[in-house]
């Protein structure tokens, strides 16, 4: 088990300092590390296998609509410290590589982020809806900021009028 600072230093020397864009410590036992999107999978595999952060708490999605980006935060825990690895991906092409082969427990967290934000995880085995209803319109991603509650409500109303069942 390493301290927060040690963990960040080790990750920096493994990935190269240029791939870590920002580090923010949240004492006593958490830090947020911003990583370039193409290096994120590498970083997670290093944290899980070398630094023993085997417990993925969850994956949080955040809609940064002003920057036209989505943020994904992978909260990895080694028992004591939590390393929140995050990355930003373009909002008009939201894609990420799945980490299910590294952390098998990630399967439903990725699927949840897909259903609520529309971020696709390439390699995730789950193809059917996990939390949203069966008749939910495929282009409505409820936690995106541009889908306000009123807009979602109107859209579902419209779908119901068209006779779609199971919303």
């Amino acid at each position: 088990m390493v301290s927060l600072e040690e963990g960040v230093e080790k990750l920096k020397s493994y990935l190269g300092a240029g791939n870590i864009l920002d580090v923010k410590f949240q004492p006593p036992r958490n830090c947020f590390i911003l990583i370039r999107a193409d290096k994120l999978r590498d970083a997670i595999s290093y944290m899980v296998n070398e630094l023993d952060c085997k417990h993925l708490i969850t994956i949080s999605g955040v809609d940064l609509i002003k920057d036209n980006q989505f943020e994904l935060i992978y909260h990895l825990n080694d028992g004591t410290n939590t390393f929140s690895l995050r990355t930003r991906i373009p909002r008009d092409n939201p894609k990420m590589v799945s980490i299910v082969d590294i952390v098998p427990g990630a399967v439903f967290y990725e699927r949840e982020v897909y259903e609520l934000f529309g971020i696709t995880f390439e390699g995730n085995p789950r193809k059917e809806n996990f939390i949203l209803s069966d008749g939910w319109p495929a282009d409505v991603f409820p936690l995106r900021k541009d889908w306000t509650i009123e807009r979602i409500r109107e859209r579902l109303e419209e779908e119901r009028r068209r006779g779609v069942k199971g919303i």
Binding site: F32, H55, I57, S60, D63, I73, T82, Y109, I131, L143
Partner: protein, 395 residues
């Protein structure tokens, strides 16, 4: 009972409604004769609470978060208010932290005894169920005495707690704990010695520690495989770093292990509450907090009765949060329970699924697929339980 042909397999859907639990889930089982070969989980009815938090202010969200769960409601307000305090970079006064610990441990006792009753009921051991739930009333009364409410206590708020614990109330809590401890001795004896119960739970629903870690299991579901991990000890919050207690583990990783871990945790909770009552500092129970929260982001964790509860909070300078992400322990345990169910008998499904103490409502319509006989059918929870008891020769 309804049946349908599904390809070459026999499909058994369980869910999405279940009277004993809160949120709906569908478990689709592929069975080969009587043995489960695959499980496909599907959660129904996303309630949109995360979205709803974005259009409410921080105070309103305390009450919304409390309603995420009907059993472990206090831990949700605790972790949420603790997160908002972290956003503001303040801490609740020491006395408030002790009161939060006391209420969250009372809640753990009530949740674990509730679970013990449900588990006994799933096994057809209704005598134990009635006795455990009778004694659970003691802790429910204590919670009502402290907060005024039996279920949603509304006691934790941003900056502290809303009610103090007076010396008279503390005495009543101590007396209640003595009764509970005596009764728990009886149930511990039943779990350790009663052959009709042990026959149903020893070696059923096995999970290895390697699988539990790889599948990111939390709480008693992780500790029952022998892995010593508990947020209260590993990442202490509130007053937990000042209170001595043991993290209960048991190595066998079956349903028996789940029962032993939870019964052991009730004893630990009783001792934590006694210690907290004896060492409670004096002083204020609440600090004043601003209405607008400056831009910041934090994570907040706590050990709910079912395992680690996680909140990610992001503020944007207004009175409403930018993003509230909630990860409840049951979601973390679903991959593990699917693993536990593979290879089990259909008759063991109720107790294995109840074993993780799922906080999901799934009146049970359980769908089954038989791979060889090429047919499928749907049972509700009652029908499955009847089958289960008959299979074990008890009906």
């Amino acid at each position: 009972m309804s049946e349908k042909e599904v390809g070459t397999a026999f499909e058994v859907p369980i869910g999405p409604q279940h009277p004993a639990l809160k949120e709906p889930i569908l478990l689709l089982f592929k069975v080969d004769g009587d043995i489960v070969v695959d499980v496909w989980p599907r959660i129904h009815t996303h309630r949109g609470i995360e979205k709803a938090t974005e259009s409410r202010n921080y105070i309103q969200n305390i009450y919304l978060c409390e309603r995420v769960c009907g059993i472990c409601s206090f831990i949700h307000t605790l972790v949420y208010t603790q997160g908002v305090e972290k956003l503001l970079d303040i801490e609740a006064p020491p006395r408030a932290q002790y009161i939060r610990v006391i209420v969250s441990e009372l809640e753990r006792i009530h949740s674990h005894t509730l679970w013990l009753g449900v588990a006994a009921h799933e096994l057809g051991f209704d005598t134990l169920f009635y006795y455990v739930w009778r004694d659970r009333e003691v802790v429910m009364d204590l919670l009502e005495l402290i907060s005024g409410n039996r279920v949603n206590y509304a006691i934790s708020t941003i900056g502290g707690v809303r009610r103090d614990i007076s010396p008279e109330v503390a005495d009543k809590i101590r007396k209640g704990l003595d009764i509970l401890e005596k009764r728990m001795d009886v149930y511990k004896g039943v779990v350790e010695k009663e052959p009709t119960l042990r026959e149903r739970v020893v070696g059923v629903g096995k999970l290895s520690p390697q699988d539990a870690i790889a599948l990111c299991a939390v709480g008693p579901t992780l500790r029952m495989t022998g892995v010593k991990r508990d947020v209260r000890a590993d990442d202490p919050y509130q007053a937990y770093d000042e209170i001595p207690f043991n993290v209960i583990t048991y190595p066998t990783g079956d349903v028996l292990s789940q029962i032993i871990v939870r019964v052991g945790e009730v004893y630990e909770s009783i001792n934590i509450i006694r210690y907290a009552l004896d060492h409670m500092p004096s002083g204020p129970i609440k600090v004043k907090v601003p209405w607008y929260i400056p831009p910041n982001e934090v994570i907040s964790r706590g050990e709910a009765p079912r395992g680690e509860l996680f909140y990610y909070l992001k503020s944007n300078g207004t009175e409403k949060p930018e993003r509230v992400k909630i990860r409840t322990p049951t979601l973390a345990n679903i991959p593990s329970v699917c693993k536990m169910l593979i290879g089990c008998h259909v008759a063991d499904i109720p107790i294995i699924f109840a074993g993780i103490d799922p906080c999901l409502s799934c009146t049970g319509r359980f769908a089954f697929i038989d791979e060889k006989k090429n047919k499928s059918w749907i049972w509700n929870n009652e029908e499955l339980k009847r089958y289960s008891l008959k299979w074990y020769g008890k009906a």
